[in-house]
């Protein structure tokens, strides 16, 4: 039997939207789905090796973006960010209520063998290289490859 398939386009680098993307991805993978996540634009922040604010990227503007956007640890909330206090409150609530944190979900995604892909075009714009990302990234791909990978399954844009 062909496994069910879920493909997620992770566009947002927001803490809450990434949490939603990784919750859906890990839940699907754990219940037998083949899962692909295609990280593009701000979504690429989720898979950077450096999780804090760091001048990652080649060129002045990409480095400034790297510092402003940062990585997973400094991902902002899409609402009520309050200069970075919002995500800290969320993380604290999640730990208190025994709900997986974003970092735990990313780790689970890697353990479950979810296929992670980085967008070639967004990487070029932001001056990022493959070495800037976690080693679990399966490949750097473009739109035609993503469409071929997601064919026959469900696709979500987050």
């Amino acid at each position: 039997m062909t496994p069910k398939k879920l493909s997620i386009i992770a566009f947002s680098g927001d803490f809450d939207k990434l949490t939603a993307a990784f919750t859906l991805a890990t839940g699907a993978a754990a219940t037998g789905y083949h899962v692909n996540i295609f990280f593009t634009f701000w979504g690429l922040d989720a898979i950077k090796c450096k999780r804090g604010r760091s001048p990652v990227g080649s060129g002045l503007l990409p480095r400034v973006f790297g510092i402003l956007m940062g990585g997973l640890r400094v991902a902002p909330l899409s609402r009520f960010n309050f200069c970075g206090i919002g995500p800290k409150i969320f993380r604290s609530l999640m730990k208190k209520r025994n709900v997986a944190t974003l970092e735990q979900l990313v780790e689970a995604a890697c353990q479950l063998g979810i296929h992670l892909y980085a967008c070639e075009m967004a990487m070029n714009v932001l001056g990022l290289k493959r070495e800037d990302f976690i080693p679990e990234i399966r490949d750097v791909i473009g739109v035609p490859t993503f469409l071929a990978l997601s064919e026959g399954g469900q696709t979500l844009f987050i």
Partner: protein, 74 residues
Amino acid sequence: MTTNHLDITRDHCPMTFVKVKIALDKLHPGDTLRVLLTAGEPLENIPRSAAEQGYTILSVSEKSPGVHLVEIQK
């Protein structure tokens, strides 16, 4: 053949499913995983998705009000 135990009564979605899946992946043919879980989403979906992935559900029994034991064999 070994029997492994997993308690996910304090976990929430998606970690309930994630922990079971990772534990199931570690089993060898003939091994059993005994999962203690709560009623509702985990009880409805863990036996179903394990069966869909080719595992055998040996038993489902209520251990205490709202807490169930599911035995899954590879």
